[in-house]
Symmetry: C2
Subunit: 295 residues, 2 copies
């Protein structure tokens, strides 16, 4: 399998799906609708909807609800980036080479566009209830999405990350940040895919564990790349964590131990996935790619 080609192809498929769920830019609130779509179409690998859809395929799902939920998780990811980039937060003018939402539309519109996208994510996911009459799986997916995106999930992680800036933090707190800030939405993605495909409780537990390990490995790999990569490969300045006095796994444990930990998490995640009777070779490749990526 040519992974890069497969990834590009599947990301394009998801791009089409997402575009079908974006709002039309019309009416008095045209500007904010434009700002929402601008941030949603600013690129990105669409990894979260991809993980959701591939986990759903693993369990041979057949619910129409997968599409609105896949679009919704990307909207939540995107709103978090829009607000992260705001002057009072990371104050970033560019992301992936494109102007950030607030630098194009102004700060007030950046705040409102983020709010609108978060709300639109739930508005989109709620359309699932009109697609089928079995609301049980949809309701559970909704509960997972709201929990993992919120103060006990992604927002909780962001908060502690912001508060910890320039401070010494414990290894335990670092784990907490990684688990919530990056891990929670990856867990939501895979778990919702499993729930909508009506995987068993036991299978759901395995998927949540795999997603947690992949999310953590993904974040540690990020720390490693910040030290070992080059500006050319990474597309952003390396060594920025050290410069910003950012607590990272590498700073705590050293580069070798960090690499070992990524390997350990990777092997365990693969073992867990292999223990399932269902198979989806692309999902395995995708997880491996996420963990061992070079940029």
């Amino acid at each position: 399998m040519d992974m890069q080609l497969e990834l590009t192809y599947r990301a394009q498929e998801i791009e089409k799906l997402i575009q079908r769920y974006l709002p039309e830019e019309k009416g008095y609130q045209k500007t904010i609708l434009e700002a929402m779509n601008y941030s949603m179409l600013a690129g990105g690998k669409r990894l979260r909807p991809m993980l959701m859809i591939e986990t759903y395929k693993l369990f041979a799902g057949s619910s129409k609800s997968i599409e609105p939920f896949a679009a919704a998780i990307e909207m939540i990811h995107t709103y978090s980036l829009v607000h992260d980039d705001l002057p009072a937060m990371d104050n970033d003018e560019y992301r992936r080479g494109k102007k950030t939402t607030h630098s194009v539309y102004g700060e007030a519109m950046g705040i409102l566009a983020g709010d609108a996208l978060l709300n639109y994510a739930y508005e989109t996911a709620a359309t699932a209830f009109s697609l089928d009459t079995d609301h049980v799986a949809d309701a559970k997916a909704f509960q997972i999405l709201t929990k993992k995106a919120g103060v006990y999930g992604m927002v909780g992680g962001q908060t502690v990350d912001v508060e910890s800036e320039g401070q010494e933090i414990s290894r335990d707190k670092l784990d907490f940040i990684y688990r919530l800030k990056t891990g929670a939405l990856i867990e939501a993605s895979m778990l919702i895919g499993a729930v909508l495909a009506k995987a068993t409780e036991e299978e759901q537990q395995i998927i949540e564990k795999v997603a947690g390990e992949v999310g953590l490995a993904f974040q540690i790999q990020d720390d490693i790349l910040d030290v070992t990569s080059t500006l050319e490969v990474l597309g952003k300045p390396i060594g920025s964590d050290k410069k910003n006095h950012k607590a990272t796994y590498v700073a705590f444990e050293g580069i070798e131990k960090a690499k070992e930990e990524v390997e350990r998490l990777s092997v365990d995640a693969m073992d867990q996935i292999a223990s399932l009777s269902e198979k989806n070779p692309f999902l395995i490749e995708l997880l491996r790619y996420l963990i061992h990526r070079e940029k």
Copy 2:
């Protein structure tokens, strides 16, 4: 009925309900949990949950879902105030005599606390699915809440309001702002109360119309009070709309026409409510109070 006493009593009941749904302030994300609770407990008349619960009582509802939805609508109202107060928006240091969330916790935490509250509103509403097995009404309530709070509801109105600051706007655009910024959440409150109480489609339509009229009258009354009230009664500076060159109904139509419009909306809303076979005298008093209030 001593309306002021009744209002105070029922607001206290709702206060207890809301407190049961607020998060515990513990864990690494303690600060943001404190900030969320700080903004939720900063006062307010709890009109939206009250309208929801009284409409629900009108149709003799018996679903347990009313409580999480009542808490959720107040969380959405509160998050919108937290973000409205931010420096990039209205830049308010005080609200109802108390420091605004960002002036206590900092701007980054103000943004995140608002995000967390919006998300927590949906997380709270989603607990309704675990309270009963009939998910149909809950699902419809969810769709109403997400739609009325979002870019085709409250956020849409906020956006156009922000964009129109200091600009000449048409009467049609002013109506749009009023209908969405203030009206949409009032519509959601009453409509969700009706839906959860399993009112008929026809009854739901009447309730939505009443709520729309009350929301509009409420906002026009706001404009009138800004001109006719006194600092002592209103508790905030009067004449601020004119000072801020704010387009208002009064500026468009004059004070007499504005009063007539409030009266027309009020009479029509009361006629509509009276046309229902179900009765809730307190709800009628509450709507009358909202429309004709003096502060």
